[in-house]
Symmetry: C2
Subunit: 473 residues, 2 copies
């Protein structure tokens, strides 16, 4: 039962989701980044609530975002592959699949309640027309269907819209909705800090961290612009702003990637560095300033708002994860890699059923998801099956996942049955979605997007060449 | 030239140094500890200034503390050993050496300016009578000459005073000095969080992190008590409070040690995890609240006060390190292990002349100063000499010391001459102190400390057995 609705809750609270791309838990000053170059995000935390153990639903862009909007794990909403066991998959430009129609996305629910929704930035839930934002609840879309907003232009990969002025687009949308007194959902999903690294001219060279830091500073500026707009328009107390990232920092990018602070490994992995996200909720007058909340204490702030919408009949009997997007207190966290349940968190305990960093083959080519880190049985170069005797860690004491709880200990013996029960309940209720990320075809790429004729940028569409996508990780 | 004295500076500013023991950079919420269990330290940071790249002078207790009070590197003040090359040494109960008389400690300088000084907690600068605090400028001493405050009592190691009520001792001292309108220096050097781990009853079980976290919470409470006393007495604006730790967290203690956040290795090593300390300066009305300062921006807050005292004629021509204790802007950081200069930081660049984690022999016995971490040429099991071609890192971009700057790069070629010049200038001016930590003798232990007769606890003093101390690290 959800209690404690804020007094002024009226079913018309605006939602803003500020979703970073590949930003790590350790990239914000408030989360311990030593150069402390994020004054606006830090200020947002000081005025709001910090959520230090908030998770994305997947360590990779597309599945994480599909979960955020659908409120369901990738294994349910189809954002996974069965081409190979335990492989991450996403929506590259030649992907055939996308977000299924039967998924009910947050903006679809909100539309029934009179909201107008806009996505700015990266969609990444499929780029064929039937999968685009307008067909899944969004009224406005300024950004790109896939990863990377350019500007780039070559004959091998088709053009995507040039991405610029996201702040202005967001601010104008907020202003217009405020003018109309119509509630809104703004999904601000900037492509940065995803590689290739980019920052606008005014921000180049601003960071002691190099280009990656410049991009963080530019995003931090954008966050400040959005929040100050809400204050200026006098709607801060009617707007819940949620800041997070879609997956951990890309440690494989070395100094061109971010930091996951004290956590193990990063993007693509089901260690904490891959899925624990730098998260802040901000809602002046409703969320007391300067506090910290843990999963165990409940997602009450977000829940008490979203709960209202989660009563949608089609959501009944669906199973959800934390914020992404129908959030409940005290739920286990399931860490999937593709079709494989790698790990489970129950309370402060995390059990690894499978472990894998990346393949020896890729490692020898220079790809390392865990640079400088080496934990026995964890950062391994082939998939290791521990499902018969999971590797157990206490994340409150051992957030670096370094010190396995001994299987013959009383602690292990008391905890594992709870883990096993959580896994069983999960699997008993699991209805896997049709995998969307199995097939690729050059012909589905955006060779001739709407408007290309007017600017003379249409490219010839090659013949269809449907094949299994290759997922190395 | 030092500029910008605060308007109300009158030469009578009180000093409080809150020195933690083996607490890591990553152990404070404000520095990114995920459980965020340090509300008072975090509040101190919010009211004061955070110093994210402040260093101790050594990765081990005694030399670090000798430097803090003398303002000189251990290689100068004698807190090192020459028994073996590049080995850490400290003052165990059988040590013969201690702080030399020719060192001028901070309380000695302050005494000339009318201050009264008190040390509460761990001295660790030698435990023979000539080395004790009363002979080196302190007027009051409540604590223990060596490591560990008990309570413990056995026949193999002599008794040390039982340590309790440090908060009350500190508060009473502050109250008494305020009553007398006499300026004071309080050196609050609690033994926790040094092992064996200990927390008082009211704090047991309070932390999600276990006993280590309980100890941190108890210290955090103490910090809050000290600061609220200063506020209550109306002397906060006349008191500069400096919070730091003597060395990095003891990573070898695994879950009974702390966290060094994103840094490499810990205590005993010259990697960032060994010597970068969680540091806060607090001085209401003089230090603007909520700011961050980096070494490069200068130690102005501390300097502008200490500068006054640093004019002591005996300090001329001495060379100092950062706070510990005569601080200047833009000085290189020298990372020593015993008699060996292991690394140098100039600006954001750190060059390793030597690297070593700990010996293979100790490693095979289970001692690991870098658990879960593995960086080529860095976390090595024998001392490696890189002085001809130092391993170079940019600490602003790469605070984890993972990505060596390639020796054939333009960056390397432009930076190394500055490093070489800094090393040369350092060595040219270096007058090594007589090493104090070479000899040990069972007979010098505190078998019969003053007062032992009254409580029937005197032990027989064994025959003298002077020998070279053994330092395995
Ligand atoms: Ca991403
Ligand atoms: Ca220490």
């Amino acid at each position: 039962a959800i209690t404690g609705y804020p007094k002024d809750f009226n079913g018309k609270t605006n939602f803003v989701v500020l979703l970073m791309d590949d930003m790590g838990w350790g990239d914000l000053g408030v989360y311990g980044e030593p150069n402390r170059e994020t004054p606006n995000m830090d200020q947002m935390a000081a005025e709001g609530v910090l959520l230090p153990d908030f998770y994305s639903a997947n360590p990779l862009c597309s599945p994480s975002r599909a979960s955020l909007l659908s409120g369901r794990l990738p294994i349910r909403n189809g954002f996974y592959t069965t081409n190979m066991r335990g492989r991450n998959a996403y929506t590259p430009q030649d992907i055939m699949g996308g977000i299924p129609d039967y998924e009910i996305l947050l903006p679809e629910i909100l539309k029934e309640h009179g909201y107008r929704s806009k996505i700015i930035g990266k969609w990444h839930l499929g780029q064929q027309p039937q999968y685009l934002p307008h067909n899944h609840g969004f009224d406005e879309f300024f950004g790109a269907p896939n990863c990377h907003f350019g500007p780039y232009n070559n004959k091998n990969t088709p053009n995507v819209p040039v991405y610029k002025d996201a702040n202005m687009e967001g601010i104008e949308f907020i202003e217009a909705q405020t003018q109309k007194s119509e509630p809104f959902f703004l999904y601000w999903a900037a492509d940065a800090t995803h590689g290739p690294m980019y920052a606008s001219k005014p921000f180049l060279g601003k960071s002691a961290r190099g280009l990656y830091g410049d991009a963080v500073i530019e995003l931090d500026y954008g966050v400040g612009q959005i929040l100050s707009t809400l204050k200026r328009l006098g709607i801060a107390e009617q707007t819940l702003v949620f800041f997070s990232s879609d997956n951990g920092a890309a440690t494989y990018a070395k100094l061109e990637g971010g930091s996951n602070g004290p956590f193990l490994c990063g993007k693509e992995t089901t260690f904490e560095g891959g899925m624990r996200e730098p998260t802040i909720a901000w809602w002046p007058g409703n969320i007391p300033p300067g506090k910290v909340r843990f999963t165990d204490l409940g997602w009450e702030y977000f829940v008490m708002v979203l709960h209202h919408f989660m009563e949608h009949p089609n959501h009944e009997k669906r199973y959800c994860i934390n914020f992404n997007a129908c959030v409940f207190v005290h739920r286990p966290i399931f860490y999937y890699r593709g079709d494989l349940l790698m790990a489970v968190r129950v309370g402060n305990y995390k059990a690894h059923l499978w472990t894998w960093a990346n393949s020896l083959e890729e490692f020898q080519k220079g790809t390392d998801f865990c640079p400088g880190q080496n934990v026995q049985n964890m950062t391994v170069r082939q998939q290791e099956d521990h499902s018969q005797q999971p590797l157990l860690f206490n994340l409150a004491k051992d957030y670096g996942e370094k010190y396995q709880i001994k299987p013959n200990s009383a602690e292990y013996k008391s905890v594992i049955p709870k883990i096993t029960a959580a896994v069983k309940e999960h699997l008993d209720h699991l209805k896997k979605g049709e995998p969307q990320l199995n097939y690729c075809d050059d012909a589905v790429m955006n060779w001739a997007p709407p408007g290309c004729k007017e600017i003379g940028q249409c490219l010839p569409i090659p013949p269809s060449n449907k094949q299994l996508c290759y997922w190395p990780h």
